[in-house]
Amino acid sequence: MLYREAGDFKSSYAEDSQTFPIRLDRRAYVALVAVALVVVPFVVNDYWVNAVLLPLLIYAIAALGLNILTGYCGQVSLGTGGFMAVGAYSCYKLMTAFPDINIAVLVILSGLITAAVGMLFGLPSLRIKGFYLAVATLAAQFFLVWLFNRVPWFYNYSASGQISAPERTLMGFRITGPETQAWATYLFTLAFVFASAWICRNLTRGAIGRRWMAIRDMDIAAEIIGVDPLRAKLSAFGVSSFFIGVSGALFFAVYLGAVEVGEAFGIDKSFLVLFMVIIGGLGSILGSFLGAAFMVLLPVLLKNLLVGGLGWPTDLAAHLELMIVGGLIVFFLIVEPHGLAQLWRITKEKLRIWPFPH
């Protein structure tokens, strides 16, 4: 009754193929963006930005990236942590080598470097599929982490092997380094998230996205109808790694400020992002956001509830948190194997005919 498409007429192809064809969706989307852009920067404090919003936004970019590869092109990857590390270390090397270039350019360049590395490690995907490819990307994960730990050039020969982000600005506002303003880092990251989601959405519904999906659904059939697997798979690896690299660069430079490769970009990071994509929904832009929100917000929420709200001991809360998050993952996957995005899709279907179901 409230949520309907009746009476929402389209009179041009452009209107017909827009991202949000239903007026209510469109309004909700505009309202959300407006709130994120206009209201949130004025009300956030350090805690909200550094502990909640930055990780949420940055993981959303990583999940978008992996969703392109795994969700849209069907290539399973366990190398996300390694590719994020490539983004972070490229960003560090670029930041220290070119102190005068603004940070936004450096983040994009880090993404491009990661894209090149990702395409290199994507080459085996032309010969191997499924689990075997997962193992090959796992090798990338371990190799990259080992590389950044082993070769001192990557961390500028610092004694500890840590990399620390120096202060860099964009249009006079500090974006990295310790003395940043909460709203500046938030808006900077939000801009990247918005652009990433925009690009992903439009790539995936265009010709290139259809090629990826054809490869995902049946690669032999795709080849027969004229999809070049080399270009489709490598472009998926490239685009996916670009976003993962951007997220790695932001993760290091804007969010944490100092990282150590084994701890920040280990195998568990690869699994974390993969879980986000699976729980959120494979092959869905919204799913990437929902998955990231689930995996980032839930532990913080539970912690604040159990320790801050109920005053329970921290170790008990930490153990319970693992159990509850784990239990919920299982629950959601049983209730809806296609992820939270599918759950939302079904809800929308039901809302359209509410309150008079068939």
């Binding site: 404090n45 350090d46 805690y47 550094n50 502990a51 990780p55 730990n149 004694a159 500890s160 092997g161 840590q162 620390s164 120096p166 202060e167 380094g177 310790p178 003395e179 969010y255 944490l256 400020g257 100092a258 990282v259 150590e260 084994g262 701890e263 920040a264 280990g266 913080v300 912690k303 604040n304 320790v307 001991p313 921290t314 170790d315 809360a317 930490a318 153990h319 693992l322």
Partner: protein
Amino acid sequence: MKKIIAALAVTVGLATPAFAELTFPSLSYRTGPYAANGIPFADGYADYFTLVNERDGGIGGETINMIECETGYNTEKGVECYESTKGEGALLYQPLSTGITYQLIPRVSADGIPMHTLGYGRTSASNGKVFKWIFNYPATYWDGASVAIKYLLDENGGDLSGKKIGLVYHNSAYGKEPIRTLTELSAKHGFELLELPVDAPGQEQRSTWVQVRQQKPDYILMWGWGVMNQVAVQEAVNIRFPMENFIGIWWSGSENDVKPAGPRADGYKALNFHAAGADFAIYDDLEQYVFSTGKAAGAGDQQGTVLYNRGLYAAMIAVEAAKKAQEIHGTAAITPAQMRDGLEQLEMTDEKMTELGLDGFGPTFAASCENHGGSGKAAINQWNAETGTWEVLTDYIQSDQELIQRLVEEDSLAYAEENDIELRCQ
């Protein structure tokens, strides 16, 4: 005259009713692969504050409010903990993790909250000229490396040339810290340094110890933490490496690390900058005010262990520094900036420790504007598997200050240049 005014101010400060509390966050880890070592430290840290609250009614009349936050030794959670506690008026951070320390150094410096990394963290932060807000006394990793080599020099009649010394280390910022010092020392004393990294968390060390068997180092030093220590000691036992030639840093020298290997871990050595065991007057007070009243933190089963004592020691320094700050500024409700002044002028003497019921517990040191790293003394302890205790083998050994000062100066000035920091104490 100044003293009289200060004394007057203190009395006035004490006389006025205090409403604020002194907040000390405890970034602990009671879960994850490092929990076995995180729990005793967190318990000791909490129990000392409970004792001060129960026995003395707080510090200078202000009760201590300790907020515990679980980091799981994870840097992302560490940031979350830092951000969530700093708004509560946190006076001092002690994250007990070198990784989190590196994260927090720029943040606390920007926010103006002191951080004390007791024998861990960034070694070059001992240069107070560069690191205004960071303290790492009583000893640093580089002191530890130097003390271990000094001890080995003594054992070998002052000559280590031609010897081979292995360094088994946690492949992280923490484990890599001593390499620079050891490389310098190997050039100076003519021993060969063999680097043996172990990837975190360190459950898998077979290949490392195969290397040890092949290369046959005369001595092994270890920079390990958490489960890595236990596995390393067990592996050393398995390849029948002589345990008395195996020396751990103070983070690789707790009961948890040697007990799983059973009687054959006997003779394993570790550095320490404070005493182990419950043979101190303070334990009577703890018994009376904390344990017997059921206020002990955690399961209450860690008393007297090395890491529990280290937790007590960390909290004791925090409390003493807070007292010093109250004395300097003449107010009981100190701010983080005042707390920093207290830390910088802290002096630990034998009399003070006796007075606190910690007679001979740790080395004496005096902090200053330049020196945030303490005296750099550590003792060698040896594990006695039969009695299940750590026996103190040596007095506090002084590290090679000349070399370490040079290295600290080099590293900290590079940091100052990178981050445009103006040198203090000029």
